[in-house]
Symmetry: C2
Subunit: 160 residues, 2 copies
DNA sequence: TCGATCGTTGGTGTTAGACAAACCATTAAT
DNA sequence: ATTAATGGTTTGTCTAACACCAACGATCGA
């Protein structure tokens, strides 16, 4: 690596900011989610599943970046509430295809609706456009890495 | 209702996204921070302290939104490494004025430099402008709530 | 002087998650 | 048909990052 003095990288690290902000949001979300019987991780899982339904559990582990054994537990909880469904993959009967149930989709929608108030509070200093921009940026960041995580899963052998 | 196409707030809740993304960032950051003897929370604390040096510990508790007793522990760790300094407030000798030391500021700078690579990886799908936008938005969100938390506290921010 | 406040210590409890070992069902390779 | 590898599951141990409570010393303010 040529250690180029990459000129003016102004500090602008958003890591800490993001972390801090996510925490604030999570704190407030909890009180909203509890009455729905959800915890933050459930919401994340459901959200991911809406976008990436039909994934195997290994895929989910990669997307969520949590250990496979913990995915099992998480899905168990969701399945117990009928929010998700595990189906055997016909192509490879070892695999489980995970998908949102109707109940799950509806609950997710309700949760998001309830969460609107929380986000309004935390993001109150952003106007409509700015929030939209933020959302778009975040999604752009997450989506691509999801793609990366899934590439290996769909077709190719595990040597990636 | 005469069908106002109430442009039905398309879900667009960024909470889950934000949480998920923060996690990804944190996971990768850990491996970078460990050799520096830091953990994620330390980085957050140092970052906050750079911007809000001279705050009391209660202020920090409010800003960080963590319990006061836990702030003590966190600061203990940082002080043990000489990264921060607790001075008695002359105005009210019960208070501790917390500030970054030179060592702390330097370490923070080093950490941020090291973290650049991580963020580049996670944000690689955003171009320079987009990252700047993201940063600005995040900061706008966090700053105002800080202001709220600090209203009574800050008299003269000594640096920045 | 008395009560409230700031920081501190110590302790308990919860949650998320990593990691390891052993297992079953299934698939793939020989 | 064995055998080895894989996906998922269970169980169990470990850690970090908190919240929350109780008690204490020092200090401030009335």
């Amino acid at each position: 690596m040529t250690s180029l003095p990459v000129v003016n990288q102004p500090p602008h690290r958003c890591g800490a900011l993001l972390d801090h902000l996510a925490r604030r949001l999570r704190l407030r979300s909890e009180s909203v989610l509890t009455p729905l019987g959800l915890r933050p991780r459930h919401l994340i899982a459901l959200t991911v599943l809406r976008d990436h339904g039909g994934s195997s559990q290994q895929d989910l582990a990669k997307i969520l970046e949590i250990d496979g054994t913990n995915v099992v537990g998480l899905l168990n909880e969701l399945e117990a509430e009928n929010l998700i469904e595990r189906r055997r993959s016909p192509a490879d009967r070892r695999r489980h295809i995970v998908e949102l149930t109707d109940v799950g989709a509806k609950l997710l929608a309700r949760a998001e609706f309830a969460l609107a108030a929380v986000e309004d509070e935390v993001f109150r200093d952003l106007d409509e456009d700015q929030r939209e921009t933020l959302y778009t940026l975040l999604q752009q960041v997450t989506n691509t890495t999801n793609a990366e995580a899934c590439t290996a899963a769909v077709v190719t052998p595990p040597s990636c």
